[in-house]
Every structure is written in C-alpha cells, then in structure tokens.
C-alpha cells in the first residue's frame, strides 16, 4: 500500500486516517493482523518513529490492540468499528454540506442529483466488472 | 596472517641479509691485515716498549692506520666507530696529552712544533690571525698557554704582534724555553714569500722581545727552493740547535726533482748565532737526510754492507769517524727506508723482499742492539705490492 502524504498535516495523523479508511472500506477485518510498525514505516516510506506514534494513538483510540508481544491487530470491538465508519461518513457529509451551502439550492434537488450520479457511477462500476 | 606475507617476507630478508652482512664484516676484520715483529737477532727486550705508528696501502690510495708493537698490530679496519671518537687516530704523544691534560688540550692544534714540555710544564703557543686580508697580510696575536703539570692549573696570556709582523699565515716549527725566554721557530708566508723566524718572547714581561729572521725566500725563488728543518719534528723538549737547509733543486724532465748544492745552517738557541755548515763534497748528495741529535749531526749513507752514519760534533765542530751498522743489503727504491734517532738509539725500517727489516743500533758505540723483521701475518688479505710506512716510533717509557 502506498499513500500520498501532504506536508502540512502531521504524518502520524495522516497514517491514522489512512487506517480508518481501510477499516471503513472493510479492507481490514476485525481482529486482522496489521504490519509491524517497522514494516509500515518501510511500506509508507516514513520514519519508524512516526509509525510508532501512529500506532500508539490508534491503540489509545482503541482502533488496534496488542496482546503481549504479539503483532498488533485491528480491534474486534464492533462499536468502535462502527463509530469509525460513521465518523468518516459524517466527515464526508459535513464537507458536502459545507460546499453546497455556498450555492443555496433546495436539499431535495440536490439529493435527486446525488442519487442519479451515484447510481450512474455504481452502474459503470457494475459494467466494468 | 597470510595477507601480511609480503611484509613479513621482506622484513625477514632485510634482517637476515643485513645481519649476515655485518657478521661477515666482523669476520673479515677478524682475519684482517695484521703485522708482527719477528726477532732475528739481538735483545728482544729492546722492542718491549716500542710502538710503531704506521700506515699501509693495499693497492688503491687509502691509508690504513695501525700500530705495531711486540704483541702484533692493532687492525684498523675493524676499528669500531667509537675508537675513532676518542682520537685513537692521533699521534700517540697527543693521545697521551689528551688523556692526562684533557682540559688543557681542548681546542688545541695537534702540531708538535707548537708544544714545549719539560718535567714541570707543558706549554702551547699559537699565532692567531685577526682575519684574512689577503695581500697585506693579517695582524697576529701570539697566545701562550702554560700548564703546570704538578698542580694541573693552567695560565694563558696574549701578545699582539707589532704591525710589521704581517703575514698570510705563520707555521710554528719548534719551541725553545730557557730562563724566562720563549723562543718560537716559525715559518711565515706572505704573498708567496717565505721567512724563517725566531720570535723571542719574555715570559714575565709578556712582550715580544726580539724577532730574528734566519732565512728569507723571495716568491720567485720559492719555485725551486725550500727551507727544510732537519730536527726531529716530534721532539717537544728543548734542543739547543736547529739544523736547517735552504734546499735548492731543479726539476728533471721526468718530474723528479734533484737537489743541487745547497747551504746548510745551524742555529744555536743559546747565543742566537747562525753558522753555515760546510759539508764534505762526498756527503753533499746525502745532506738532506741529515739528522740532528743532541750535539751530533748524523748523515746516513746506505751501502751494500749496511748503513754508515757520518757524524759531526757541533761542540767540537769537527767530523768524527763514522759509525757503521752491518746488515744484509736492503737497497730498495720503492720505499725509502725510515730512519729515526731518539735517545742515542737508531731505529731503521726498510723494505725487503719478504717484509720489512727492522734494526735498532746504539749511536754512541755503533753496535747493533736488535735485528728483526716486520711481516704481514695473513698474506691472503694483502696484495703482494702493499706498502708499509712507519710514521713514528715511540718508546712508551718516556
């Protein structure tokens, strides 16, 4: 996996976000093993210390857990996983709302469009399969 | 280890080679040229205290110095570096001085002509030039150092030579000291001119009292004239007379020089008189071999049957009948025979076919005291045409 980082947000924050997305998308099953922080650093071409920091944070947020000196795993706690998903969705929606506020259109109309677009894309997606 | 083989190998080679080279050197010098004296006749005791300071040439022109005594010879090739450092190569008399009067001898020129010794004093005199202004000659100061042999304390004083005493250099030949008067025999050179002087110094007044010119050579005549002093060069004790000749010679076409009739003079320290010696015609050819000894003048004449010593007595100023020493002919032209007369003894060393003939005779009675041979012990180290030169024979006793 590779990630394009921006230089302004702390790298460890970006790493955590990256993990959340993966979880939300379901690439990571609950309880799945994740790469050691060294592997991670190597894969993402980041400083091991940063990877360490990211894992620490995620540990505190309960996203991952480590038993003894076993490799860390994604949490099995449904609640947390669910919250991650919601968090991302809400984030996205907030962003969306924020941008359409500027051009005040009635919500119904917008939703129409959204629905249409979404179906079309997913349709293409179907075909492409 | 094995990646160091080069270095190790080379070091081994270096050490072994250089090591063995010097071991070989040591060996070589062990079985080095060495001479010994073989008594053929007379009293062995004669050579007990003798030391012959000599040098030999073995082809080439390097002089190897060595000393020969009854116990054989010191070989000089094996001389260690340090033996050189302790003036081992200097004439024995000076080695003795340096041992006994180390401090007094510091920085002194080792030229017997500048020394005087009697039982209680050793005196050294030297002319020091004030620098070199060629042509006009240098001004000189005469320095006189005196060592009291008993108390071993030394004193010194200087005399500035008067202005007319200007020379390029002054070469001292002999010192004579009699009741407070120091007489210095010296040859002085200026622009090719040569003069023989007697400088008389008053020890107590510390001043130059008298400057006598015995002989003078103009620059042009020096080409075929020279002043020879026939006294024993190494004698530092008083001798009442100075025997010198103004030798005239001409060069033969083969480059050899031939003495032509020349004048012989005798100077008397006691009364500052110079008188010319008249030499019988038949002796003239030998005059330049004359030897002054005490009140006698000897003229050696080598002959088939040995050596004839013509004798002239100065006091009686007359010729007395000669002494003759008989021994097998030693006529030999490669090496002129060495002759020395000290303490009424005649020492003669002359080349013979199988070595060198060594003879000691009594010059009062004319009898032979000792006959022997100086031979090279190990022939293989010496070319057949080696030559041995005796510089001086010392008697350890005095």
């Amino acid at each position: 996996m590779t990630v394009k980082f921006n230089n302004r947000d702390p790298v460890y924050v970006q790493v955590i976000r990256h993990f959340k997305e993966k979880i939300a998308k379901g690439y990571f099953e609950p309880g799945q093993e994740i790469p050691s922080r060294r592997e991670l650093a190597n894969q993402l071409k980041i400083n091991p210390n940063t990877a360490q920091r990211a894992y620490k944070e995620m540990g505190e947020q309960g996203l991952i857990f480590t038993e003894g000196n076993m490799p860390s795993c994604i949490t099995k706690d449904e609640a947390v996983l669910k919250s991650v998903r919601e968090e991302l969705i809400i984030e996205a929606v907030d962003l969306f709302l924020g941008s359409i506020k500027s051009i005040d259109v009635p919500l119904s109309e917008v939703l129409e469009l959204v629905k249409k677009k979404h179906d079309a894309e997913s349709g293409e997606a179907e075909e492409s399969k | 280890m094995k990646k160091y083989w080069k270095t190790i190998l080379i070091s081994l080679i270096i050490v072994t080679t250089i090591g063995s080279y010097y071991i070989q050197q040591a060996m070589a010098s062990k079985k080095d040229v060495s001479f010994k004296i073989e008594t053929t006749n007379g009293d062995k005791g004669e050579i007990d205290n003798l030391i012959l300071q000599a040098s030999y040439q073995n082809g080439g022109n390097i002089h190897h110095w060595l000393q020969i005594s009854k116990d054989g010879s010191t070989n000089q090739i094996s001389r260690t570096f340090f033996r050189d450092l302790v003036e081992a190569h200097e004439p024995l008399m000076f080695q003795k001085y340096i041992q006994e009067y180390r401090n007094f001898m510091r920085g002194k020129v080792l030229n017997p002509g500048q020394y005087f010794e009697d039982e209680d004093r050793l005196i050294y005199t030297t002319f020091q030039s004030n620098g070199r202004n060629k042509g006009l000659g240098n001004l000189f100061t005469l320095q006189i150092d005196t060592l009291d042999k008993k108390t071993n304390d030394s004193s010194s004083f200087e005399i500035n030579m008067p202005d007319q005493v200007r020379y390029d250099w002054i070469n001292e030949r002999d010192i004579y000291i009699e009741n407070g008067k120091i007489k210095i025999l010296a040859t002085s050179y200026l622009n090719g001119e040569e003069e023989l002087h007697i400088y008389t110094v008053d020890e107590n007044k510390k001043e130059l009292e008298h400057d006598l010119i015995l002989a003078k050579l103009e620059s042009e005549e020096r080409a075929q004239t020279s002043i020879n002093i026939l006294n024993d060069y190494n004698k530092v004790q008083n001798e009442n007379y100075i025997l010198y000749m103004v030798e005239k010679y001409k060069y033969l076409d083969d480059g050899e020089r031939e003495t032509i009739p020349s004048k012989m003079y005798l100077y008397n320290y006691l009364n500052n008189e110079v008188k010319e010696l008249t030499i019988p015609a038949e002796l003239k050819p030998y005059m330049k071999y004359m030897i002054l000894h005490g009140t006698d003048i000897f003229i050696p004449v080598h002959s088939a049957i040995g050596l004839e010593l013509k004798r002239y007595n100065i006091e009686k100023n007359q010729w007395e009948e000669h002494l003759s020493f008989k021994y097998p002919s030693i006529a030999n032209d490669e090496e002129a025979p060495f002759l020395q007369i000290t303490d009424d003894k005649l020492y003669l060393v002359s080349r013979v076919s199988d070595g060198h003939f060594f003879f000691i005779g009594d010059v009062r009675t004319g009898e032979s005291l000792y006959e022997g041979k100086i031979i090279n012990e190990n022939k293989e180290n010496l070319n057949a045409d080696y030559s041995l030169m005796i510089e001086q024979i010392y008697n350890n006793m005095n």
């Binding site: - | 270095t7 270096i14 070589a28 180390r102 920085g107």
Partner: protein, 275 residues
C-alpha cells in the same frame, strides 16, 4: 600496536607494485652494466694486446687487472640507485598527499580509524624506512651475483679479488654500507629523523594551509639548526670539544629533534589536521 602493523602492511602493499618495478629496474640495469663493462674491458684489452703485441702478463704489468670499479662506478650501476633514491624522496611526500588529493579522499577513512592517529604517522614512517632498507638489502644481494657475472666474462688472469670491506671504500658505499653496525644504525637513524621532520613539516602544511607552508619551512630550518648546533658550536669554538663530546651532543640533539617532530605531529593530527 596491532593496528600499527595492519597499517604498515597496508601502506607497503600500496607501494608494492611500484616497488617491484623499481627492483626490477635496478636488477636489469646493473646486470647489463656488469656484462657491458666487462665486455668493453675485454675488447680494449684484446686490441691493446694485439696492437702492441703484448702477452697477458705484460699487459697486466702496464695496465693492471680488471677492477670492479669499472662496474660499480658505471652509469649502468649508479643511475638506477640514484633514481630509486629520488623515487623514495618523492614518495615521502606522496605517501601523505595522495590521501588528500587522490581520486577518493582516503584520509577521511584513515583519520576515522578507532586508533591513535599518530599510529598512521608511525606506520608511514616505518614504511619509508622499510622500503629504503629493502633496496639496501637488494644491493647487498646483487653485488656477489654481479661479481659472478663479471668473473664469468673476464678470464681468471685478469680478475682481481673483491671483498666486501673494500666495497666501503667507494664514497657512496661508505655512506650506504658503513664499516660497523653501529655506524649503520647511526646513519639510518639520521635518515629516519630526516624523514620524520619532513613528515611533520607536511602535516604542518596540511593543518595550516598556505600559512602552513611558511611554518613548515621555519620548522624544518629550526630542526636542522638544532640538529647541527653541536657541530656549529664546535666550529665557532675552534674545536673546543673532543669528537666524543660532539658526538654525544649530536646524539642528544637527535633525540630532541625526533621527539619534538613526533610530539608536534601527534598534536596536529589530534587537534589541528584538516580534511
């Protein structure tokens, strides 16, 4: 100590190729010399004998037998030696400057070795002496061979016997192969001091750049002065001291000069050296 030997070995290996060529040069040139010179001599002899109808003995009467000086004083023999000396002199400087100005600045590595830096100095110093003594040894080994070569060409009647202690009667040999081991040690000791002073001078230059050149020269002259002070002193005092005393003074001075050279070098390498 271990590191010293490693470095020594390393430095030796660095020069080794050049060293071999040098040795080869000497051997070839001197052997040719031995052959050529003896041939020339024989031709001359034959002509001479033929021209004036001389028998061997008569000829030897007049001209003497073959002398090894013909060989040992010929260019064939001497030039390669002088060349080698020159090479080694140059290498005294090269052995340092190559590490700075070489294609890769190796001095970085040397100075970063976990060992006292003065060890590098000692290693290089020993290397030079090592190379010198190597050639000295080579010459000792070659002489007998060359004598063999000559004697194989010159008929026995013309041969003169040659032993090693006559060897030291030629001037340069007198210096390169003194008569006694003591003198050998002393002479090459002086050589060592000379190289040490040069090394230190080089390090001064390396440490202070352009200014350094000036310092280096001054330092060199001072060392030289100190070293020869006793002799000078003795000259001025018109031989006041006996040779033994002068020698001892020289000995002391040499130790002072060598000691200070090493001390300065050590200080520079520790605190002042620049890469």
């Amino acid at each position: 100590m271990k590191n010293f030997f490693k470095l020594l070995n390393f430095e030796v290996n660095r020069f080794f190729k050049l060293y071999l060529t040098l040795i080869g040069l000497i051997i070839v040139s001197q052997f040719i010399g031995a052959i050529v010179e003896s041939k020339v001599y024989m031709d001359r002899t034959d002509q001479e004998m033929y021209k004036n109808q001389l028998s061997m003995s008569q000829y030897i009467e007049r001209h003497g037998v073959f002398s090894f000086n013909y060989v040992f004083e010929s260019e064939w023999f001497l030039l390669p030696i002088f060349f080698s000396i020159a090479m080694l002199m140059i290498y005294v400087f090269f052995i340092w400057y190559r590490d700075w100005f070489g294609k890769n600045t190796f001095i970085y590595r040397l100075l970063m070795l976990p060992t006292e830096r003065i060890t590098i100095y000692f290693a290089k110093l020993t290397t030079i002496m090592f190379l010198v003594l190597g050639l000295v040894t080579l010459q000792i080994l070659l002489i007998p061979i060359e004598i063999q070569i000559v004697n194989s060409i010159i008929p026995t009647d013309f041969q003169s016997n040659f032993s090693f202690y006559h060897f030291s009667s030629f001037e340069i040999w007198g210096w390169m192969y003194p008569n006694t081991f003591t003198e050998f040690i002393l002479i090459y000791g002086v050589g060592l001091i000379f190289v040490a002073v040069l090394f230190t001078a080089i390090l001064i230059e390396r440490s202070y750049g352009l200014k350094g050149i000036l310092f280096a020269i001054v330092y060199g002259m001072v060392s030289f002065g100190v070293f020869f002070a006793p002799i000078l002193l003795n000259e001025l005092s018109s031989g006041y001291f006996y040779s033994l005393e002068v020698f001892l003074m020289l000995l002391v001075m040499s130790f002072i000069v060598l000691g200070s050279a090493i001390w300065i070098a050590n200080h520079l390498l520790k605190y002042k050296i620049r890469v």
